[in-house]
């Protein structure tokens, strides 16, 4: 589980090109959007696609993605 979390944080920083953020800066329960990592709706779309590819899971539609991130 820890490995998965680390992998996820690295992927978010690398593929969403977050500047000046290290995996250690992200707490497990930080919100992704607004006050947390500051991601926006464009990033959310990329995150859904990235997670599907990276972890080989199927997210059927973006509403399902929205629930998963909430």
């Amino acid at each position: 589980m820890e490995k998965l979390k680390a992998e996820l944080k690295e992927m978010i920083i690398r593929d969403l090109k977050l500047q000046g953020v290290e995996p250690a800066d992200i707490n497990d329960d930080d919100p992704l959007f607004e006050e947390g990592l500051g991601l926006d709706s464009l990033d959310a779309v990329e995150l859904v696609v990235l997670i599907q590819k990276h972890f080989d899971v199927q997210i059927e539609d973006m509403d399902e993605g929205r629930e998963a991130f909430a």
Binding site: D15, S41, V45, E46, V49, L50, D61, M62
Partner: protein
């Protein structure tokens, strides 16, 4: 549009992922050249790896600077405007029109776009959202990049200017509108078509609707998985037959009719039976007063499940599926260029009609057997029985637009 609705197409300019110029793009189509890849870093950063079709890094060639009233491209000229300008000067050269003549004419400019002059500067947005005070350059660029006004300013020309932002039907509408300007004498000459650069907002928007394909698109194929986006611009020079006769110039063809109709069905999905498209095509044919059936239909053919289904369903209601009427999509070599798509496809439709033949749909190997109207698949090439064709576009918002074109 009455019986005497005529606008001659005297010049054509095009650039897209398949090449620069009508000849290059046509050859790309005939060879089935598919040159797409993930968004290059030079355009914008994205985590999405969907393949897209791109244009040259500098779309406007320095060799064309003599067209510009300032002698060079102004700083702050956006990519969509530069693409439009590149297509426009190609079309003017093709029409045999010189800069001096152009500046004396009443020139109408109608350009379709979806990206247009919207903000691209996400840094600006982020800074603004965070309550900082970002530099105002993005605002100045926004104000200076209205595509139709920008073309007038760069070329030093005068006349009506209209930007049409009607999603993927934008440039089909722009050509229809400008043809009407010519037919009714609003202007002497018109430059009409569309232009769109790739944008992160559009790419992520299509991705969020699950409409983008991981692989090169396969319009009308049974295994189609979605669309590829592309950037590009395509422009026609339109004028009256009388004007063209006075300057003793040959022209490749004319706009015979234009029709547009709404589905009133769904914000982003077409009516499943193509209700609005049927009405748009009927309108275009009625305006054209056609005395013979079209030989070619260049479909919207994006390669999404819903579009291709709706489009073929609509065509089966209008035309005999057994007749020698060939349906193709050319998006396999250009991707979906959104606001430029109608222009790109109108130009390719006319080129096929002029040559009297069409290659099949690049990317379509096995036409979907559920379609009521079958497309011409990749690898086939057929002769066309008439010089008349239809170029059609389906748009978000439920708009459908169609042009009837005739080659001389």
């Amino acid at each position: 549009m009455g019986d005497n609705f005529t606008a001659v197409i005297s010049g054509r300019g095009i650039l897209c992922g398949a090449g620069v110029g009508v000849e290059a793009v046509w050859q790309g189509l005939c060879r089935g050249r598919v040159d797409c890849a993930p968004v290059p870093e030079r355009l914008f950063a994205t985590g999405l790896k969907f393949p897209v079709f791109t244009c040259p890094r500098e779309p406007f060639p320095a060799a064309a600077d003599s067209w510009l009233v300032d002698g060079e491209l102004r700083p702050g000229t956006g990519r969509t405007l530069a693409l439009a300008l590149a297509a426009t000067v190609q079309a003017l050269d093709d029409a045999g029109i010189e800069a001096g003549e152009l500046r004396r004419a009443r020139l109408g400019i109608a350009i379709g776009t979806t990206v247009g002059c919207t903000f691209h500067d996400e840094d600006y947005f982020v800074a603004w959202r965070d309550g900082r005070e970002p530099d105002l350059d993005p605002v100045r660029n926004f104000l200076g990049n209205n595509v139709a006004q920008g073309l007038h300013r760069l070329l030093g020309t005068h006349g009506p200017a209209m930007v049409i932002t009607n999603a993927c039907a934008s440039s089909t509408d722009a050509i229809g509108l400008a043809a009407n300007w010519i037919a009714t004498g609003v202007c002497d000459l018109a430059v009409a078509g569309g232009s769109d650069e790739l944008s992160r907002v559009a790419l992520n928007g299509f991705a969020s609707l699950m409409l983008t394909s991981d692989a090169p698109c396969r319009p009308f194929d049974v295994d189609r998985q979605g669309l590829n986006l592309g950037e590009g611009a395509a422009v026609m020079v339109l004028e009256s037959a009388e004007r063209l006769k006075r300057r003793a110039k040959a022209a490749p063809g004319m706009v015979r009719g234009y029709g547009t109709a709404a589905d009133a069905w769904h914000p982003t999905a077409p009516h499943p039976e193509g209700r609005g498209l049927v009405n748009a095509i009927k309108g275009a044919i009625s305006a054209a007063g056609l005395d013979c059936v079209p030989a070619l239909i260049n479909g919207h053919g994006t390669g999404t499940r819903a579009n291709d289904q709706a489009e073929t369903h609509a065509l089966a209601q209008l035309f005999d599926p057994a007749a020698a009427i060939y349906l193709v999509s050319t998006k396999g070599i250009s991707g979906h260029t959104l606001g430029a798509a109608g222009g790109v496809e109108a130009i390719l439709t006319l080129e096929a009609l002029r040559r009297g033949e069409t290659p099949g749909t690049v990317g379509c190997h096995t036409p979907d057997p559920d379609f009521l109207f079958s497309p011409l698949p990749e690898g086939e090439k057929v002769g066309l029985a008439s010089r008349i064709g239809i170029s059609q576009s389906l748009a978000f918002g439920g708009t459908n637009s169609a042009l009837v074109l005739e080659a001389f």
